[in-house]
Assembly symmetry: C2
Homo-oligomer: 304 residues x 2
């Protein structure tokens, strides 16, 4: 390290988030540094940051799917970044975990979102994320004590649909998503509607399709923020195909795809299954990193 610091922002890539970090660094024209995590036989992590940078402000890009396996190493990386003289450290978590656990649904349950946000707030100075799944919180400020910037994937998703799908009809998974689906549809002047969903367990979901007879000439586009077990989307695909309509396109912002969810969804009879590059996955086709870069630039301008 040198004593003279550049005024720019450096990008550090946490293992697993290299491609998002790479795209982000390219958009920001920022230096990119890899973080390495070595696993000892006892499963402890040894985290190493490259020492040859002169960053004063930096972001660590770490998508927080499968969060428990990453948390300790991410905190080690953050503290090491401080030791290397980084004064302002942001977390870019294209996917942010634990935000759905915002309430004690049964006595004795931990409200994990609060603890998770508190730990991250303690180790970073700001947060940038894409479409966090908020139910009862209206903003991240209710749980994070650091400034955060929430990027909407909608413009990138809408642009992809407009370019690739003829006469799209956007279909959301449930009434909660109505506002988001409508806003996305509006960007490309497309019609939209939402499914009625009944959830009986983590992976046991049934859906009913609204009357879409008026849109017989449209291509259904099933759109959800997270595809986790994929059951909701697969159930919707089967109903749409069963009703004799065209094979729907499936779009998720965040490609969690638990266990065999992707294979199962692909086998359900739909058309393409497409996701944003917030969680690295073979289905990533929609690049949201230009939007993330713009959010970081805006945060930095507010700061200066």
């Amino acid at each position: 390290m040198t004593d003279t610091k550049s005024s720019g922002l450096d990008v550090f890539a946490f293992p697993g988030s290299e491609s998002a970090a790479n795209a982000l660094a390219r958009n920001l024209q920022a230096p990119l540094h890899p973080i390495t995590v070595h696993r000892f036989p006892d499963e402890e992590a040894l985290v190493t940051l490259p020492d040859r940078h002169d960053a004063d402000t930096a972001v660590i890009v770490c998508s927080l799917d499968r969060p428990d396996a990453k948390l300790a190493a991410l905190l080690f990386a953050a503290d090491q970044a401080r030791c290397q003289g980084i004064n302002r450290l942001g977390l870019v978590a294209p996917y942010l975990a634990y935000m759905r656990q915002d309430k004690r649904f049964h006595a004795g349950e931990a409200i994990s979102s609060r603890t998770f946000a508190s730990v991250l707030s303690h180790h970073f100075d700001f947060l940038v994320t894409v479409d966090p799944h908020l139910h009862r919180y209206s903003t991240l400020d209710e749980v994070f004590t650091i400034p955060s910037s929430v990027v909407s994937a909608a413009p990138a998703v809408a642009e992809w649909i407009a370019a690739k799908v003829e006469r799209p009809l956007l279909i959301g998974p449930d009434s909660e998503s109505a506002q988001w689906i409508e806003a996305t549809a509006k960007l490309i002047d497309a019609p939209s509607c939402v499914l009625q969903k009944t959830r009986r367990g983590d992976a046991d979901v049934s859906v009913s399709i609204p009357d879409i007879a008026a849109y017989r000439c449209h291509t259904p586009v099933l759109l959800d923020d997270i595809i986790s077990t994929g059951r909701t989307m697969a159930a919707a695909v089967r109903q749409l195909v069963g009703a004799g309509g065209p094979a729907p396109v499936c779009i998720g912002v965040h490609a969690i795809f638990a266990d065999d969810a992707y294979r199962m969804l692909c086998a359900s009879g739909g058309g393409a299954t497409v996701t944003c590059n917030t969680i690295v996955h073979v289905s990533n086709e929609i690049d949201v990193m230009p939007l993330v870069a713009a959010a970081i630039r805006a945060l930095e301008q507010d700061q200066s």
Copy 2:
């Protein structure tokens, strides 16, 4: 929960540490409560504490082998305990992770022990652990900001050896362990010595046995604080057996046993392989929970 609180201490068992928690609660004559961790398909953890207790002071028993997989859920449990009105919350980590990463061995390496201790210090009021593997720190106070009590397994180990091994010769793994091995040997008036160890990698270790001709009628007892890959101990077993001596007994305080280490060690030609109950394992034979209970009682007396 009621408004009237008992003045005693309750014991909460983190998943995987049930048997240690059970033994501890029995020794303390304290109420025992299970913590449950449900894994969602997306690998997030849902942590639940029983709500029907009136504890004011409590400990969570969580052995921190394979630490990264446990850290998030442990912090959720700690915060939930606070929400339930527990005012004084201790962590009983019979095995404490990350203490060996106490130095930057190469540029850019995170000093994980500092971050790990800082996060735990932030969520608990005191810490009780058994024989942490400290190199360059002389006490846990160098990294923990909360009071800690370090339990030595030596009395329980010595007692087991005295009861089970005829004419034991205690053999430590390296010069660093000499003081600990001598102290343990002294408790039962046994002779002791240490191996010379050369480590070339995580799992590549060679040892040389000192001249033990004078102890031909003794049973060698190989004693280490942590058995992780088991390579050191297996190499020592093979040398002792190869030199025509009796099959040595292998004792470890902490039964990490990475991958196939236990099978490999058992196959190396030694006698019994025995560990303390700090990490649950089929080889656990030495109960250190009475010592842990005594340490907690002493901490609580200091407090009152």
